[in-house]
């Protein structure tokens, strides 16, 4: 059986494990055995804040070595790894999970999902991995699923790592504006928020306080199997 090397970043592992479980089950469903990259973090959180990320990146590179490509379950981590510089870290080619799964995903998923969802294209998906169209492609293969875009779709949700705690008022205001545009993406309301970035989802869920369910795209696709 073919195998795939998956990296589940620290915060997904602990705070949004349901996305990683779904990603693994979907990979297995299209015939892959899943091996994990045995590292906690890609270094993004440190590098974005200006902290020294070399040790963490070196650890990641060592854990990821000896494979053709690494599939990363987070657009922002994938973006960081794709642009990571520094002579120490030889990281195999990195592919964001949606870009990998779309190669093997069924043309139609077996289960219908009668649901109106709004797509939050994260900043990383829009500008770093640039694969929002891939996300749309995957979601379009689920019958019954209606996907809408919010107004000001390209605006950030306000998370930004330590930005969220160093500029809490600004981060909350950005989050609230984003939440309002997501929730009003359809005149009759939407029934869920979907994204390929769990970090945005963590922020949006904290802002929305459970008013709408938030899903990683893998969770939604898994429930269509």
């Amino acid at each position: 059986m073919a195998s795939v090397r998956l990296f589940v970043p620290c915060f997904v592992d602990e705070l949004w494990p349901q996305a990683a479980r779904a990603a693994v089950e979907l990979a297995e469903a299209v015939g892959f055995s899943v091996q994990l990259v045995d590292a906690v973090c890609c270094g993004q959180a440190l590098a974005n804040s200006g902290a020294d990320s070399t040790k963490v990146e070196a650890r990641f590179a060592a854990a990821a070595s000896g494979t053709e490509e690494v599939v990363v379950l987070s657009a922002s981590c994938a973006g960081h790894l794709q642009t990571m510089s520094g002579g120490h870290a030889r990281v195999p080619p990195v592919v964001e999970w949606c870009d990998w799964f779309v190669r093997y995903a069924p043309d139609r998923f077996p289960q219908r999902l009668e649901r109106r969802v709004v797509l939050h294209g994260s900043c990383s998906a829009l500008r770093s991995t640039r694969n929002v169209e891939t996300i749309r492609d995957l979601l379009s293969r689920v019958d019954g699923l209606e996907v809408f875009d919010p107004a000001d779709a390209s605006e950030c949700c306000g998370f930004g790592g330590t930005f969220s705690t160093e500029f809490p008022e600004m981060s909350v205001r950005m989050g609230r504006d984003k939440w309002n545009s997501l929730a009003s993406a359809h005149p009759n309301g939407v029934e869920g928020v979907v994204s390929s970035d769990c970090s945005c989802l963590l922020h949006l869920r904290a802002i929305g306080k459970g008013a709408l369910p938030c899903y990683h795209i893998a969770e939604l696709l898994r429930s269509a199997v």
């Binding site: 190669r103 069924p106 492609d137 390209s154």
Partner: protein, 652 residues
């Protein structure tokens, strides 16, 4: 908490301000997107602009020396200022030499950077900012809050109250049109009496020694046309190699900035502006052009994360899309250059006082998407964070052991395990921990639940279960990624003239056929010599009175000639050659420009291809529609300082 975070928090408490500011900038962004959608080679132009700026930086001293030599050859007096203090002193010395006490100054962020107004005021020289937005913030006693829309933080009501206090209008006036007219009336007498005209500079063309200034209101052209002395303070980074490069820079600048195709006036000054024979006969003295080339820390930016920021052409697009700037306004940054590009420049140019600016970003990258010279703004903000923390100039804001824990799976698991085990008292922890408290922001954000079982534990356990024969899902593989059908934009290949007319109208101008001339030109209209000649060559019997060569204020309709009409931009090229006084085409109420029949070109590239850089007239300007401003709540008002109406007539 950093000072900048505190200042931003204070702004965010004023929700009505934030709502209005955010809406204004989203509206601006919409304009930009709409214009850019119709520019065929947008990305190629951006890339070319980036490469040209890079090429100048790679050989900076050579290009600076070339510009200085060519500018001097054209008669420009060039000064080099190492610091802001030097630049201010040079300006003052010029004033003192001439006994000048009043300056009409158009928009210039560089003189803001130098604090020139205050410096001169302390020495008895009054500087009046003549750009409407700049005038508003000057009267408020504030700094501009945006690179191109200085008063965007002020509402029409606040501006009306200010103007009433200043005696410019009746109390209670809030109409942007009437407020603009009030400012125009007040400033016109000032233009006519100022001793010196000052400007900034958008581009310095090394090949020709030219200074290029772009503006919408005509205040810059007026200030430099009505005085004997023009002083421009320009950063050394404004140099572009060749005249023809302007086709690229001008094409990317205005759409990024205001959503216009071309700013209303794009003026190329090559040497001092000559006096007409009539002016000399009336005793006018020859004009002088001083350009002060400012370093003020710019050379030292090479090799730092701010280097690429030197390529900035000050369009303000990054401000308009930045989710932080949109909500904070420019004053919260407390520095001349605000927003994303400000954060790139601040640690290099801010003298150590603005090292917290790179923190004021979620690194969303929206700025990179719109930058017309493709500066990796978010990337450089990211770079600065590392550089500043390493140098001890900033703190990274993460827990002290974060790096160690994240590099070591056992430590990480131990830490997380402890947090889960302490579940019952984690509420206590959350209240005490500063970062978690800030996350909750007084109850506005929930803490994330910490699921009992992490993904990796689930994965390990499941592997054991699977060996015992658990079965799972099956999906049929599909045919791979599908390309979404991209909508083919059907671009109508309309003929050039049609395009010119529609773009002219877009810029607020009007087009008239020769046959309609009588209808658009009233009997009391006056015309320049060249316009009269062109009309008589057409066999037109209309007898338009010649304009008094020294007439300035008070002309209603003036018919003058243009050299070229530029279809893609709806603009006309004017060289001032047929004017007794250059300001005449700016001071009339309605300007009618006659374009010769062979004067229609497709775009700026063709214009520059037709101009010999070695025989550049002292002044060329592209006129794109009537003078205009949108400095009061984005309301477009024609006739900011110059003509309220522009009519272009093409001769058969």
């Amino acid at each position: 908490m950093t000072d900048i975070a505190r200042r931003m928090a204070a702004v965010l408490a004023r929700e009505d301000f934030v709502d209005r500011h955010l809406a204004a900038l989203r509206y601006k962004k919409g304009h930009r997107d709409a214009t850019i959608a119709s520019i065929r080679d947008w990305d190629a132009r951006r890339e070319r602009a980036r490469a040209q700026k890079q090429a100048v930086r790679d050989d900076q001293e050579r290009w600076i020396a070339m510009w200085i030599a060519r500018a001097r050859a054209a008669g420009t007096i060039v000064h080099e200022a190492a610091t802001a203090a030097d630049a201010n002193r040079i300006v003052y010395e010029i004033c003192a030499q001439q006994g000048a006490t009043s300056i009409a100054k158009s928009k210039s962020m560089t003189t803001e950077e130098c604090g020139l107004n205050h410096y001169l005021a302390d020495r008895g020289v009054v500087v009046t900012d003549t750009d409407l937005g700049e005038r508003i913030v000057q009267l408020f006693g504030e700094a501009p809050s945006h690179l191109v829309m200085p008063a965007i933080h002020r509402s029409r009501r606040e501006i009306g109250e200010l103007f009433a206090r200043e005696g410019l209008c009746e109390p209670g006036e809030e109409d942007p049109v009437r407020l603009t007219q009030a400012a125009r009336r007040a400033l016109r007498s000032l233009f006519l009496s100022a001793d010196i005209g000052m400007s900034g500079g958008n581009f310095l063309v090394a090949e020709t020694g030219s200074l290029v200034v772009i503006e919408n209101e005509a205040n810059s052209l007026l200030g430099t046309s009505l005085t004997d002395t023009h002083i421009a303070v320009v950063g050394i980074e404004k140099i572009v190699p060749r005249l023809a490069d302007l086709a690229t820079f001008l094409t990317v600048l205005a759409p990024s900035s205001t959503g216009q195709r071309l700013t209303t006036y794009s003026t190329h000054y090559t040497g001092p502006q000559p006096r007409s024979a009539a002016e000399l006969a009336a005793g006018a003295i020859e004009r002088r052009l001083h350009v002060i080339l400012l370093d003020n820390g710019r050379r030292a930016l090479l090799g730092t994360p701010a280097e690429e920021g030197l390529g900035c052409i000050r369009c303000g697009a990054c401000l308009n899309v930045c989710p932080v700037y949109r909500r904070s306004g420019g004053h919260a940054y407390a520095w001349t250059y605000m927003g994303p590009i400000g954060a790139v420049l601040a640690p290099g140019l801010g003298g150590g006082a603005h090292d917290d600016m790179p923190k004021a970003s979620s690194l969303c990258g929206a700025c990179n998407d719109v930058c017309p010279v493709k500066i990796d703004i978010a990337g450089h903000i990211h770079e600065w964070r590392g550089v500043l923390v390493k140098a001890g100039r900033a703190k990274h804001g993460l827990p002290p052991l974060a790096g160690t824990m994240l590099a070591n799976k056992r430590l990480w698991r131990f830490g997380i395990g402890a947090a889960k085990a302490l579940g019952p008292i984690s509420g206590f922890f959350a209240r005490r921990n500063a970062a978690l408290r800030r996350w909750q922001a007084g109850g506005l954000r929930d803490l994330p639940p910490l699921p009992a079982q992490s993904f990796s534990r689930w994965f390990e356990r499941r592997r054991v279960d699977q060996r015992q024969g658990a079965s799972e899902l099956r999906l049929t593989r599909g045919s791979g990624p599908r390309a979404r059908p991209t909508s083919e934009t059907q671009r109508a290949r309309d003929d050039l003239m049609q395009r010119f007319v529609s773009r002219l109208e877009e810029a607020g101008g009007n087009y008239a056929r020769l046959a309609e001339l009588a209808a658009v030109v009233p009997d009391h209209a006056v015309a320049t010599e060249e316009a009269r000649r062109l009309l008589s060559a057409q066999g037109l019997e209309r007898r338009l009175a010649p304009i008094d060569k020294l007439e300035l204020d008070g002309v209603d309709v003036l018919v003058a000639s243009a050299r070229l009409a530029i279809a893609e931009k709806g603009a006309c090229l004017v060289d001032f050659a047929d004017l007794g006084s250059r300001a005449q085409i700016l001071l009339c109420e309605t300007l009618v420009l006659l374009v010769p029949s062979d004067g229609l070109v497709a775009d700026l590239d063709e214009v520059y291809a037709r101009i010999d850089p070695n025989a550049l007239p002292p002044c060329l300007t592209f006129v794109t529609g009537p003078s205009k401003t949108a400095d009061i709540e984005q309301t477009l008002v024609f006739g900011a300082h110059g003509p309220r109406q522009l009519v272009v007539v093409r001769l058969d």
